[in-house]
């Protein structure tokens, strides 16, 4: 019987001939934590008598969720993380470096075929690089750093095939929202999900990061993409090796298969308060928004900023809307500055905040007022997510939909502006 990517990666890292359903102890290549999850991990590591990470490529700590620091209490948390990183000579990605899920791939710590864990649920993002990566709690990540390995249940794999090509002004985010709307919030719980088909083959790496990032919104554990010339170029342009690419065997067992026609996908929006509450953007015409947010580990990359800027060209942000942009990393910000995209967005009325998570998780940089609606490129729209649970509605969409809505002041299909 052939093997899936998940089976191959876990087999290679556990030295066993494992198959879905088996429990294995596998070596972990890299682990990371962010400012909301590091302190619990640090406490566990100190409890274990930790000296240095035993993971092959070490670990990274990222100050992104609450950076720049909004309060004295968080300042103490950051101080503790800095102290631990200094003492143990662990790379620390400081305020303004960016969101962990952009900074970690940019640092070359995730290569094809790797097994990576992180104390952040969106760690599945690195699947775009043909890796198996997954989010875990702080204790699990502490255990991986301490032991250099961790136990895993080998997941079953779902195959999602999106043939055809996405139409103009329809992107990876729309495709993924369509998929989540069909599979639902627990439709892929504990599964590895492999996306293939013509639309995925022609999709840029930024789009693949968007899709892999949101795999956890349907419960998935891994979302490894196939390795191809796009993966190879992304790595070589940054001076990284191609790692050990892995592909599913033709006779691999997929527990379920889902087919989508990319050509049929239209701009999608997830309505409050769950990510699987998806509809066509055009059906929400007339829904006023007071804030639009472009950024996050889902859609804060250069091509996302470029897509929004293309739509904003010659237009300005509606006077009733605050349009906040948080580039996913310093590199993304520098690239957007160099290409003129950043200036274009600012001239149109956008407000740039520091590279990082921005207002996604509701602790700084754009908490909405009572009764307001927000349209956002983030991955979650739970009640209270952006820091205010008093009748705030968070709608999720693509960079193009966010830009179109910022222009009109209401939720807008980007093909209509």
């Amino acid at each position: 019987m052939g093997q899936t990517i998940a089976e191959k990666v876990l087999a290679a890292h556990s030295g066993s001939d494992c198959a879905a359903g088996d429990i294995v102890v596998a070596s972990v290549d890299f682990c990371m934590a962010q400012d909301g999850t590091s302190t619990m991990m640090i406490r566990e590591l100190e409890n274990l008598g930790f000296e240095h990470p035993k993971t092959a490529l070490g670990m990274g700590l990222v100050l992104d969720h609450n950076a720049p620091c909004p309060s004295v209490e968080v300042a103490r948390v950051h101080l503790r993380i800095r102290g631990f990183a200094d003492k143990n000579r662990i790379p620390l990605y400081e305020t303004g470096c960016g969101v962990c899920h952009q900074v970690v791939p940019e640092s070359g710590k995730v290569l094809p075929g790797s097994l990576v864990v992180g104390a952040d649920s969106h760690t599945c993002t690195y699947g775009a690089l043909n890796a198996c990566s997954t989010g875990l709690g702080s204790a699990d990540v502490a255990a991986a750093a301490y032991a250099g390995k961790l136990w895993f249940k080998v997941p079953e794999t779902y195959s999602i095939i999106a043939e055809g090509q996405l139409p103009d002004r329809v992107g990876a985010k729309d495709l993924m929202l369509k998929v989540i709307g069909r599979l639902t919030a627990d439709g892929a719980t504990y599964k590895s999900v492999e996306f293939t088909g013509a639309s995925v083959a022609s999709m840029g790496m930024d789009g693949r990061f968007t899709i892999a990032n949101m795999a956890v919104e349907m419960g998935a554990k891994f979302c490894p993409f196939s390795f191809d010339e796009k993966t190879s170029s992304w790595l070589s342009e940054r001076g990284f090796s191609a790692g050990a690419p892995v592909s599913s065997d033709p006779d691999a067992h997929f527990e379920k298969r889902f087919d989508f026609d990319a050509a049929d996908v239209v701009p999608q929006v997830a309505r409050p308060h769950s990510v699987d509450n998806v509809c066509d953007a055009s059906s929400l015409r007339g829904t006023k928004v007071q804030q639009a947010f472009l950024g996050t580990c889902t859609n804060g990359r250069l091509s996302d900023l470029e897509a929004a800027a293309r739509l904003m060209r010659g237009r300005t942000v509606n006077r009733g809307v605050r349009f906040i942009v948080a580039p996913a990393s310093r590199t993304v910000l520098l690239d957007a500055m160099a290409s003129g995209v950043a200036a274009q967005l600012v001239k149109a009325g956008a407000v740039f905040v520091a590279p990082g998570c921005g207002p996604c998780v509701g602790t700084h940089a754009g908490v909405p007022s009572d009764g307001e609606n927000v349209i956002s490129t983030a991955n979650r729209n739970f009640k209270g997510r952006m820091g205010n649970n008093r009748d705030v509605g968070i709608f999720l969409g693509s960079p193009e939909t966010i830009a179109a809505s910022a222009i009109t002041g209401e939720i807008t299909d980007p093909r209509e502006v």
Binding site: G36, T37, L150, G219
Partner: protein
Amino acid sequence: MRLTGNAHRFSPDDDINTDYIISGRYKFRIDDMNELAKHVMEDIDPVFSKKVCKGDFIVAGRNFGCGSSREQAPRALKAAGVSAVLAKSFARIFYRSSFNIGLPLIECDTDSIRAGDRLTVDLDAGLVTNSVTGESIQTKSIPRTMQVLLEDGGLIEHLKKHGDFALE
């Protein structure tokens, strides 16, 4: 192990995410789990932390604990006195984290349990007894790996005890 306490329910009770269990508004700035426990479930039941008593159960539908990986979620529930969560299914990260920190999760059909019902959960027998309705509910057995972690007092204590993973 036998646990006894009252059931707490929420509406709607599917897809209760970890943001609802403990909001980002609190979890980033409060490090003390007893302080965090005062805000547990606040966004979907503002008075929950005042109602919950030591030993009580949260009873929910599908996909309990989805969303963020924040380990503060199971830790704050435990600090609030919750002795176990009963649900039709759990999200993956929350499932591992709960056993890692010593909070048992029970998968069973929860439809017949009402808020306020007095429950006894027998983890070994895999049985929930409802002393209000008299009904007994069979639970899914807890996987061996998770039983080992619970018996050892969580993942970190397991590693300290064995010096390695000893899950078989």
